[in-house]
Symmetry: C2
Subunit: 610 residues, 2 copies
């Protein structure tokens, strides 16, 4: 089966908009006047790198003014922000595309999207020689586009021969010391950056790179450091479309930039990039079809930046306590009872969605409001989609508040939000190791909290060995019957970490733990290990495969030095035939244990309701 | 325990910024010159209605130019968009705050944030009389603020006495027919709207209402229709801060508006609203402390609109097939085997996050790419946070594509994304009932698909009654033993929908289904029902409570007319004492059934990994 709703829509849109034959190609650069009025390409690239293209998407043309925001980003990388702002402002002019618009007095160009500002920006690119600066520009643009870009020499010659207005601007900038030294090579470099040859597919990839925080979504390569993307998009938003900027924000609502050769880029941060190419321009110097395509795409796909998703869901996906769900460590009946009565002492807060200021603020507020009776709060990032610095800062403040009040904050699945560890390490310094408590999953964090709540011995090597009379499965048997069983059981020892039961092995025995503890784990689809249960002395494992004869479905590993009594299946069967009461009691106890496990799982299902 | 990271930060920020004593109060309206230079309040309101306030947040002052975007929103409600755009543009001027800025020729004010545009906008408010128009403005503003707002008569008089420039503008607009009829009452209404008395808490609530799609997050009342919020925010973004607009977008990155009395609002769509009040103004007419607070808050809390969350997570939270997880209808071994071998025939796609163009595009692309061998695709919205129209449109297109290829698309948890049903009903018309297949949860959708895949009889009243020899739990018993058991069993019938086992009841019997089917359900924390299992003829239920003597932990209800054989616990025990083989075999079979359930749950846990 094939088909693509997005591709279908773009094809239909292309066909419809192609019929608009208004506008004229730019003629002030003779090379541009040769453009075919019918050339028309649309490309859309998602932030995960899917490329849609329609029409003349492989037709090359020169990037022209669309180079300006990218070079502005480079200037921010190559200089301090203060230096850049001192030489070029960020105010829209409301003027037409070729206005000079220098600030009275300082001569500072109003913004980097007008030619004067762009030439000043080009003058700030780092490099030892004009050739070095050009190399840096071409290499950076190539990173954005994901292929090697080159200059269209014919257009460059044409620009060079007719660019008197831009030369005048260069000298004006030199006059105001915005440009230092001879302005000629800078204006020449500007002509070259404008003459870089691209397709609208390239433009869409460049835009998608800005949408994706500076990383080309197809190649995975960084074209600009993420911290500068915000500034590049800001100047595009306020000044990218000349004196059409206000209407553009109003109608289309995406930062954008147009070029006189007929290209347009538009960026929806975090989502996608657009590149459109159609040479006929309107009186403001923007591509007629390009504007129409952006306008329709914005409305059709709800791309306006002020059309945020309207979420009714809380950032807190789930909150539960140890009374609802406890760790998979099997406890004595008394301990189990204690945990079920400890409700708010251990709380798990499972978050979802993007953790930014406004969502983490809700979490922090709710956790503080629930601190009555709390000893441990576990924040679970398993379903979090992202965490930014503001969110990290709020979690730090929560951590400090809880610590000051004698509570412990723990985190699980923190690998999903790597920014948190980095931020806390930086801010907590020496206190990081002591205060940043993190566990891979809730189960382990719950167990850690439970052990402290119950004051259980933890991680200790076993000292006492229980005798067979204490085995839970022997409940109800008399000493004679127990003796009969122990007579056929074999005592085996395992080192810490040793595998006791292999996955897929044939089930030949039932295990009783005399000393130590062991955990049952399965490997999930993604390759990670998930613990299903941990057993300690007096408990049994291995009964399921024994009952249904299926191969072992999980791995059992010794958590400590482990001593087990193994009851071979064959002996169990034989004893059962001779002593039905033994078999009945054992089966009853096994079935009872299975019931307890099922009830625990059913309770968890009610809580998690996946 | 008390404390608030956000409140703490605002207090610290307030203390620090209060030290800045630069700027002067506006003097051109004499009433404003009386303001206390030290007044300084900050309020922040989240989109879920949490209010933070610091300093003089209850001090009243006049709203002045901050009224402009709200009145613009009203003009959009009261007129067609074309009418509004014909009379007032949306281009920033780059001019100072009191420039007149009419377009040459048409006399159209460049945008609604300058006085000329604002007066033209005020002239478009609906109402039969000046008093009626004022009433509408006050009522709307009161909805935004969540309390009854009134006019500061002193300031109004002061504006009225000194507002010659605005009267001149009124006549200029009349000259160009932008304003119709006598401009005097319109300019008077404009003076009144500027004289509405607010606190910075009111402003923050008004801003939060814009952040929350026009609904006041505290009162829940709609102040402006959601469809116009985007336009209001757009004019604020391009023109709200006069000739500081570009730098504002660059540094603060939130749509904003300032007023000459010292107020500022800023809006982070979907997240929060800010209101700040401090009378000293800079030379551009913006509150000095207000700008500083917005600047610091934006950086501290990452509020810049071009700083989108960076999500590494796929919108597809989980994909599984019927081979991984089947419905909770218990099947025969043969059917179970068939389902486990049908892999891609039934696929469940569980989505997460905000479903907008760029995320749904990914889903649609992946589902189409997985259509080989697919008969049914279930799209699960349980973890979706939102769905917009673009997302709905893509799902419609997917539905049509799959239907054309003979596949069936189903939706679960669609109540979380109500827009989908509305959209599909509108677009599918007569075909809606046939094509929009929706189930409350995956379990029911899976069962529906499984029944079709297995060609099972569905929803039929039972016709055949199986005899006791076919009961699964009797496997291995000889006819004599079965006869002994059936001798003590009691046959009972239930109507469809009748409760067979009550929650919390004492467990006295084990049920064997002779004809019909029954479902086990629990009530989740939220009050919804969750099905744990459905049993049909030959199967048993009620064994867990029987084994551990606990009260019934779930409800069992007859899905059809139901005929059961009940085995009383007491008789079972007595028979067991006399015939150990019966007890052993029954216990074994029960334990085997429990094993199967545990294995199924463990498999599901591996898939869902909650």
């Amino acid at each position: 089966m094939t088909g693509s709703p997005v591709g279908d829509f773009l094809r239909e849109l292309h066909r419809r908009v192609a019929e608009d034959r208004s506008g004229d190609v730019a003629t002030y650069i003779p090379g541009l006047a040769k453009a075919n009025l019918d050339w028309f390409g649309i490309a859309l690239v998602t932030a995960d790198g899917q490329v849609y293209e329609v029409g003349d998407s492989a037709q090359e043309f020169t990037i022209q003014s669309i180079s300006k925001p990218f070079v502005y980003g480079m200037a921010l990388e190559d200089n301090t922000r203060a230096e850049v702002l001192r030489k070029v402002g960020v105010e829209p002019t409301g003027d037409v595309f070729n206005a000079i618009s220098l600030e009275a007095g300082s001569g500072r160009p109003r913004n980097p999207m007008i030619n004067a500002g762009a030439i000043a920006t080009t003058g700030m690119i780092a490099g030892k020689s004009p050739a070095g600066r050009l190399k840096r520009i071409l290499e950076t643009f190539s990173l954005y586009a994901g292929r090697t870009l080159e200059i269209d020499e014919d257009i460059y010659q044409s620009e060079n021969e007719t660019g008197h207005r831009n030369r005048a601007i260069g000298h004006l900038l030199r006059n105001f010391d915005i440009v230092e030294g001879d302005p000629t090579p800078i204006v020449d470099l500007y002509f070259k950056q404008c003459s870089i040859s691209v397709t609208c597919r390239d433009l869409a990839l460049m835009a998608a790179t800005l949408a994706n925080r500076g990383v080309n979504p197809v190649t995975g390569k960084q074209a600009i450091r993420g911290e500068y993307v915000e500034s590049v998009l800001s100047v595009m938003a306020s000044s990218g479309m000349y004196d059409y900027a206000g209407e553009w924000i109003y109608r289309v609502g995406m930062p954008a930039k147009s070029g006189v050769a007929g290209g347009i880029i538009a960026v929806l941060p975090g989502q996608l990039g657009l590149g459109i190419f159609s040479p006929p321009l309107d009186t403001r110097g923007n591509s007629v079809r390009g504007i129409q395509v952006c306008d329709e795409l914005s409305r059709h796909f709800n791309l306006h930046q002020f059309h945020p998703p309207h979420s009714n869901s809380s950032v807190v996906r789930l909150k539960f306590t140890v009374a609802d769900v406890s760790s998979s460590r099997q406890r004595s009946n008394a301990d189990t009872q204690t945990l079920r009565e400890s409700g708010p002492a251990i709380q798990v807060w499972q978050l979802q969605g993007n953790l930014v200021f406004s969502t983490v603020e809700v979490v922090v507020r709710h956790i503080i409001a629930s601190s009555e009776g709390m000893q441990f709060a576990i924040v679970d990032f398993k379903h979090a989609l992202s965490l930014n610095e503001a969110g990290s800062r709020l979690f730090l403040q929560l951590l400090e508040l809880l610590a000051a009040a004698g509570r412990t904050l723990l985190f699980t699945h923190a690998a999903r939000v790597p920014a948190l560890r980095r931020y806390l390490r930086q801010k907590l310094g020496d206190r990081f190791e002591a205060l940043f408590r993190v566990f891979e999953e809730n189960d382990l964090a719950l167990e850690w909290c439970e052990n402290r709540l119950l004051k259980s011995p933890i991680d200790d090597e076993p000292t006492d060995t229980v005798d067979a009379g204490s085995y839970g499965l022997f409940e109800g048997l008399n000493p004679h019957e127990i003796k009969l069983l122990t007579g056929v059981m074999q005592r085996v020892s395992f080192r810490r970490g040793q595998v006791v039961v292999e996955f897929g092995a044939e089930a030949r025995e039932l295990f009783f733990i005399a000393a130590g503890s062991a955990s049952v784990t399965v490997t999930l689809a993604g390759g990670t290990q998930k613990r299903l249960a941990t057993f300690s002395s007096g408990m049994s494992f291995g009964e399921m495969a024994l009952l249904d004869g299926a191969p072992r479905s999980a791995v059992v590993t010794a958590d400590t030095a482990l001593v087990c009594d193994m009851l071979p299946l064959a002996d169990f069967r034989r004893l059962g035939r001779e002593h039905p009461r033994i078999e009945i009691l054992l089966l009853q106890n096994i079935a009872l244990g299975l019931c307890q496990k099922l009830r625990k799982l059913n309770r968890e299902i009610s809580v998690f309701d996946y």
